[in-house]
Each structure stands twice: as C-alpha cells, then as structure tokens.
C-alpha cells in the first residue's frame, strides 16, 4: 500500500462542476489510467481518494491538494505521467509526492485558504474604487459578524469575524479590474465561504454599485496553521 499526495490547478470551464463531480472525474481518470487503486474494506468497497478542501462552484484554483491510496508502491513521477493524459486540459497536475501511511489526512491539516476576488463589471457600469474600500473597512472594523447555523436539531449562532484573517484590495491601478485578496480560516476548526464575505460587502447600504457587478473567485493557496504560522499545506505532510 502506498499513499500519494498531488497538487493540481483548476481552470475554466471546469470551475463549473461541483466537489462531488470533481471526485467522480478523478476516480474515472484514475480508473482509465489503470494505476492500482487501493479499495476500502467493507460492504461497499470504494477507492480511497480525498481532496483537501472542497472547491465551491464557479471558483478556479492555482494549488489544490488531493490524496489517493494505491495497493502497490507508486512513484510520484509515475503517478503524474500516467494520470495526466487521462485528465481534461482544464485540470493540470502540478506535482505529487509520497506520504507516509500514518500521517494525518490532508483535510484534517487544512487551516486557511487564500482567495483572489476579481470584480467584473460591464462597461458603463463601473464601480467606485473608494466605495469598495470603505465598505471593506467597515466590515473589518466590526467585532462580530453573527451567522446562524443549523445543526441536526438546534440552531446555533457563530461569530465568523475571527475567521476573516485578512481582506484587502491588492491593486490600485485604474486600468485593471479591482482585486480583493481574502485570507480566510478554513477546515475542520471552522471557516467561512468567500462568497459569504462578498455578500456581506454587497449588503453594505453604501456599496450599491457592486451588486450589478460579478465577482470572479480564484483560490490561490490552501494553508496549514502551524502554531499560528500559516504555511503551504505541503509543509504539514
């Protein structure tokens, strides 16, 4: 048995498929590649494939992580060379490395994710730069952003403000679209969706113009939180 962790890029138009569709796509590609998949035990054996953090619909990504178990030892190069030809061009394998079987799962390591949100407006419907800046400032100044979450039986309220680690406009060039960089907590210890944050921005009464525009979201990196320091996920393996 061996375990391979892989890093991939998701481009348009494959941003338009769901997390489950992504898993199915990888499984079918793996099956076509004839790499020796390891199957889980039990009534309904299934291949052991996992992606570190589900990608929301519509979001492209630069550096996503997945892991898969094989019944024999598979070298990372062999993995990339065999699987790549079976993947659509919008999914690009960027790297792979072997991981010890006793290491924790990728998903359990995830601590944060960084997104780029590009504001796209139709010509003639431009957005005031300062307006976005101001609503962002107001949002970040809030001490609490309460969200209602439903569990099986009860409703709970969570303050998600601490999950917004950093949010800023990163370009100041008039000729280019406005880009926000969002660093958000993610993973098993709680997190928020980038869409939620953008909705919060738009719901600011002063931010009227944004609503007729569209955000294009891109996930730059998935990070691990090691004693307060955010590092690339591969550092945790």
């Amino acid at each position: 048995m061996s375990r391979v962790c892989f890093i991939f890029k998701r481009k348009m138009p494959l941003a338009y498929i769901s997390h489950l569709d992504m898993l199915r796509l990888f499984l079918r590609a793996l099956s076509r590649s004839r790499l020796p998949l390891a199957f889980s035990q039990g009534y309904n054996p299934h291949p052991r494939l996992a992606l570190a953090l589900p990608l929301p619909l519509g979001v492209t990504a630069a550096e996503e992580y997945g892991e898969i178990y094989f019944s024999e030892t598979i070298q990372p190069e062999q993995f990339i060379n065999t699987l790549s030809p079976q993947l659509p061009s919008a999914l690009e394998l960027r790297g792979a490395f072997g991981v010890a079987l006793d290491k924790p799962s990728l998903a359990s390591l995830v601590g944060a994710a960084q997104y780029l949100a590009t504001l796209k407006c139709e010509p003639g419907n431009e957005v005031n730069f300062e307006l976005v800046q101001a609503s962002l400032k107001r949002l970040m100044a809030r001490k609490e952003i309460m969200v209602q979450r439903k569990t099986k039986k009860k409703k709970t309220y969570t303050n998600v403000r601490p999950y917004i680690i950093k949010a800023e406009i990163i370009n100041r060039n008039d000729d280019e679209p406005l880009v926000l960089s969002l660093l958000l907590q993610a993973g098993s210890r709680g997190g928020i969706s980038p869409f939620f944050l953008l909705e919060q921005l738009e719901s600011d009464p002063a931010a009227e113009g944004i609503i007729s525009c569209k955000w294009q979201l891109h996930r730059e990196r998935i990070l691990i939180n090691q004693k307060g320091i955010l590092q690339p996920l591969s550092e945790g393996m």
Binding site: P13, Y16, R28, L30, P47, G58, C121, E122, E126
Partner: protein
C-alpha cells in the same frame, strides 16, 4: 476615481454560464467529446435532444449515432439539449442563439438538426429549441439556408402531430443508415438542388418519411387516408433496422459527462427487440425482430467501454435482459473480466421469476436495499389480458427468493386504466401489496420497504391495444383516489403515482394526427415547456390551448378505433402486420372472457 475595463472573457456564452444553476450542462468538452473542424466536413449535423442534458446524455441512441457519424472523417455530429428555464430566460434576454455544445456554433451553422423523439411530452421543447435557434417552426416556412430538421426515435412511429414542423423523419434504427443519408444529402446539396427537390429525392430512400409529401384526407372531420403527392415517395414507409448487431457500429468510447446523469454508467446492449409481446408495450413491437449480440462481442465491448470511460458500473441492457440465452455464462465471464477492476454489472429490467432473482443475486454486491419488479396488474385475469403471464404463486416465490438473498425491500410497478379493468382490479393492487407485506415482514432483518409506483395506461400506436381508448380522466382520478385512500390506511408503503393529466396528454399525442400541430404551437406560445416534468407541467395552459383552438381532447384520447378505421400511422410500417395486432387484440378480449368464465 472610476474603474472601467473589458470584463468578460470569451464573449456571451461564458458570461451566461456564470449565472445559471448547473452551468456544466452547457460546457461541452467532456471526456471523449468529439470536436471536428466544420470546414473539413461535407455534412454537419447536430443531434438535438428535447430534454435536459442529464436526461439526454443517458440516451443510448445519442451515444450510438454520435459514434457512427463521427467515426466517418467526412461527417460531423455535435450535440444540443433543451436549456433549462433559467438558461432559456438568459438566452432570450441576451439574444443568445441556441448553440451546439462542441463548437458553440448556432444551430443554423449546421446542415441537419436531428431531434431524438423519445417521449410525447417533450414535443413543446422541440418547438422551443427551434425558436431559440431562430429556425422557423413550420417546414413550409424555412429558407434554403436553414438546416434540414429531421426526427428519429420511437415517437416517429406516429409523428403526425409533429408532421408540419419536420422536414423528414427516419423510421426505425438509424445507426447504419444515417451516414448514408447524410452523404446523400451532401451529394444533392453539391448539385445545387433546392430544398424541395432534395427532400423529394431523399423520400425515395427506404426508411425516409417526408411528411410534406403526404396529404391527409378527412371525411366529416375524421381522417380516412393519406394521399401521396410525390411519385418518388413510398406509399408505405418501411422502417430501417440494423440486421446484425455484431457488425453494427457501437460506441466503446462514449462521452463521459462531468455531472451526474440519470443513467451514470457504461451500457452494453445485449439484444434488441423483445419476444414477450406484452400487449401494451410499444417497444416490444417496433424493435422487432429480436437480434442478439454474441457473448464474445458483448464482453469485448464491455472491456473497451470500461477502459475508455473509467465507469465503475456497466449495465447489460435490453428490453428483458434475463431473456438473453446464455445470460448465466455471460455474467460469469463478465465477472471474470471485470471483477478485478471493481466494476459492477447491473441488469436494468428484471422479470418477476425466480430465475431473474437468481441473476440479481449473482450480480449484486454490497447493500441490498430494494429490487424492482413490474407486475403491471394485480389480478391474474388482467395480467392475462395484457399478456404479462405470471401467476400469483410465481410472484410470491420470486419475492421470497429475493428476501432470502438478503433484499430489504421491493419496488413494484403497476398500471391503471388497462383495457377491461374495473375498480376491483385497482382494489386488488391494495390487497396484493398488503398480502406481500404480511407474508414477508417477519422474514427480513429490519423493516421491509415496499414502494409502489402506479402509472396510467397510454394506448400506443403499433400495439394490439392501439384501437383501445384511454380511460377517461375523471375515472383515472377516481381510481387513483382508491389507491391513495387505500395506501393512506396501510402503513409501511411508499406510494407514488403519475399525474393523470400528463398521461392524458401523452395519449392525445400518441394516437393523434396532424390536426394537433397548431395545438402544440399554441401550447408552446402559452408557455408550455418540459411537460414531462411535474414541476413544469401545467394542465391549465393545455386546456386553454384546446379551448382557443376549439379542439376536444377526448376525441383524440378516448376515441375507440375500429379495425377498419384509418389510423394516423397506417402509412408507417413497423414490421408487424396489422393482422397480428388484430389477432392479439382478439386474444386479449378472449383472455378476458375465458378468465371471467372460470371465475
């Protein structure tokens, strides 16, 4: 400070995609999709499926024809499906023409648009797709540059309600014929013939029905014949068949969708046609004669399919797969070939006999939740009438085998409104289900799940019941009421039924003639779409359409045809003689009388 820039990449379509519910329906570019250069092809065709992507991509006919056309270097086929309501709204708002998935080119860039006609309740979608493509609805109003609008599939065995909207229908199986037809069209187009002349020449080919070349004759408002107005056209159109399935083209590398479809698995067809002859079943007659693939061909195809798609399930499909002569040996060989790869086999259509249950037992690994059977009718008399010959002892025996093999429940399919049916037959559904539950409830571990699904009988063309009227709507609703009340008082059943009004509409179009075409157009104008989807179906709009055109739904659905009446589909030959249908209809009536005498 104002910011302005050119915002959207690659134009309108990608902009629309980011605003619809399931954008992956419109992406194209899936694994094994075939993108060819348009100027390299002599004839370009788009396969149009008048329902959602998820439904159309499960259709085996699409996969077969996509393969058999695209495997030819001089021909090209792309795909288009009915856009969902949200996409349609956006397309209309932004003047986006309906486009083919592969090249994103509008349908008017193709030589042929071929609609797959699987189901009467998708007809309004056909009109809607033509409109979204900016193609005139009526064949007579199309210009020389418009693509030929052709149709195929089971509904072409009575395509009359659609006749004025189509330039041409292909009757029967097209996998061997379609490339020839397209090439012939290419030759005729090369000779600079006009549309009318091209259609006239194509009408001379076997299997081709050009509706404009036939004029219906009415006497007192009743259809009494079809007059052929072009000497080249056949008086009776013969259906095409693929004589030998082993040599017929079959897709081993079908398109693998990005999103989950209705049947999300590889499919290998064991045989075509069915020898059982159930009297209500149109497929059982129009796909005759029975033709089998050899076991070696099936296994070879299955291996190639799995290698090219990566599916983890393969369906051994046919109208009645347990009837494949060496099914045991086939399943064993499939197991040997595929088991190592963790691929499971499934049989889509199981009969209610012990043999079928044994096969299911052999095939099914993993949790055994429920097994599906279709007794169709709950009394032995009625089952004899429809020729679903199975006794109650056999039903209990096979359900018993299923329980013994570990299944936790059943899904049972019944029909109401069958010829000779009475209220007592419907009540018998309740009592049969109750007896089944009582008998097996203590034999399963945990709870016994029985779901019962009841549809309404629709008399179809080219069956022994083609002369029979559909049961009147109010009486269908009464009988559904008997079941609804009954199941309400019987805990432990999951009861579902088909909308009676939708079945009425299905019957109207299944046995109607060309007088229905304006009705279809009217209903589409009023907003009818996706009539087969209960969340979209609006009977009120259809009633309004009937009223506005002063047509009587009952005159189509409830009319009993006589043997010497001219039927709207009499000029289309499905390979079975009318004498056989009459004989089988008589046998049904006699079965009824004999059974009643015995009682």
């Amino acid at each position: 400070m104002l910011v302005s820039w050119m915002p959207f990449e690659k134009g309108k379509i990608s902009d629309l995609l980011s605003r619809v519910q399931k954008p992956a329906r419109y992406l194209g570019n899936e694994w094994n999709a075939c993108l060819k250069e348009h100027d390299q092809a002599v004839v370009r065709m788009v396969f149009a499926f008048p329902d959602l992507y998820e439904v159309g991509m499960s259709n085996q006919g699409l996969k077969i024809l996509y393969e058999c056309v695209n495997s030819k270097p001089d021909l090209l086929m792309e795909r288009v499906f009915a856009p969902a309501a949200d996409m349609e709204d956006l397309m209309r708002e932004h003047d986006q023409l309906l486009f083919a998935l592969e090249s994103q080119k509008p349908l008017t860039d193709f030589d042929v648009v071929g609609f797959s006609l699987q189901y009467e309740l998708s007809y309004t979608n056909v009109l809607n797709m033509l409109d979204l493509a900016s193609i005139a609805l009526y064949s007579s109003r199309r210009s020389e540059s418009d693509p030929l609008i052709i149709g195929g599939g089971p509904c072409t065995f009575n395509p009359e309600p659609l006749a004025p909207f189509f330039d041409l229908f292909v009757l029967g199986e097209a996998e061997e014929f379609l490339p020839d037809l397209l090439r012939e069209l290419g030759v005729l187009k090369g000779q600079n013939l006009d549309r009318k002349e091209i259609l006239s020449r194509l009408s001379a080919l076997d299997g081709v029905y050009v509706p404009a070349l036939y004029r219906p004759i009415y006497r007192d408002g009743i259809l009494c014949g079809m007059e052929k107005i072009d000497p080249r056209a056949a008086t009776v159109i013969q259906k095409k068949i693929a004589a030998d399935l082993d040599s017929a083209p079959y897709p081993t590398a079908p398109v693998v969708p990005y999103i989950q479809t209705v049947h999300d698995r590889a499919v290998v067809e064991l045989f075509r046609g069915c020898g059982r002859g159930c009297r209500f079943c149109q497929a059982g007659f129009i796909f005759r004669p029975v033709r089998r693939r050899t076991q070696s061909k099936i296994v070879e195809t299955a291996e190639a399919l799995i290698a090219a798609t990566g599916y983890d399930e393969i369906s051994l499909s046919s109208l009645s797969s347990a009837d494949y002569p060496q099914i045991d040996s086939l399943i064993n060989e499939m197991d040997e070939v595929l088991a190592g790869g963790h691929v499971k086999c499934s049989l889509p259509s199981l009969r209610l006999d012990s043999y079928s249950v044994k096969l299911a037992d052999q095939l099914h690994r993993g949790r055994r939740s429920s097994l599906t059977f279709a007794p169709e009718a709950a009394t032995e008399r009625l089952r004899r009438v429809i020729k679903k010959d199975i006794s109650e002892e056999e039903i209990f025996a096979s359900l018993g085998d299923a329980v013994e093999a570990g299944w936790q429940g059943f899904k049972l399919y019944f029909m109401i409104g069958l010829p000779t049916e009475e209220d007592a037959d419907v009540e018998a559904i309740l009592s049969l289900c109750q007896r089944i539950r009582k008998h097996f409830i203590h034999q399963v571990k945990g709870s016994l799940n029985i779901s019962v699904s009841v549809s309404t009988f629709v008399p179809k063309a080219h069956t022994p019941f083609q002369w029979e009227p559909q049961l009147e709507l109010s009486r269908v609703i009464d009988r559904q009421q008997i079941l609804r009340k009954g199941f309400k008082n019987m805990p432990g059943f999951d009861y579902s039924w088909h909308e009676a009004e939708a079945s009425l509409l299905e019957a109207i179009f299944a046995r109607g003639d060309r007088t229905l075409a304006p009705l279809l157009e009217k209903a589409w104008q009023l907003g009818c779409r996706f009539d087969g989807w209960s969340e979209h179906f609006s009977f009120k709009l259809w009633q309004q359409a009937f009223r506005e055109l002063d047509l009587d739904p009952g005159s189509y659905a409830y009319r009993r045809f006589n043997y010497d009446d001219y039927l709207p589909w009499d000029h289309l030959y499905c390979g079975v003689n009318k004498e056989l249908f009459i004989r089988e209809h008589q046998n049904a009536i006699n079965a009824n009388l004999n059974q009643r005498r015995e009682l």
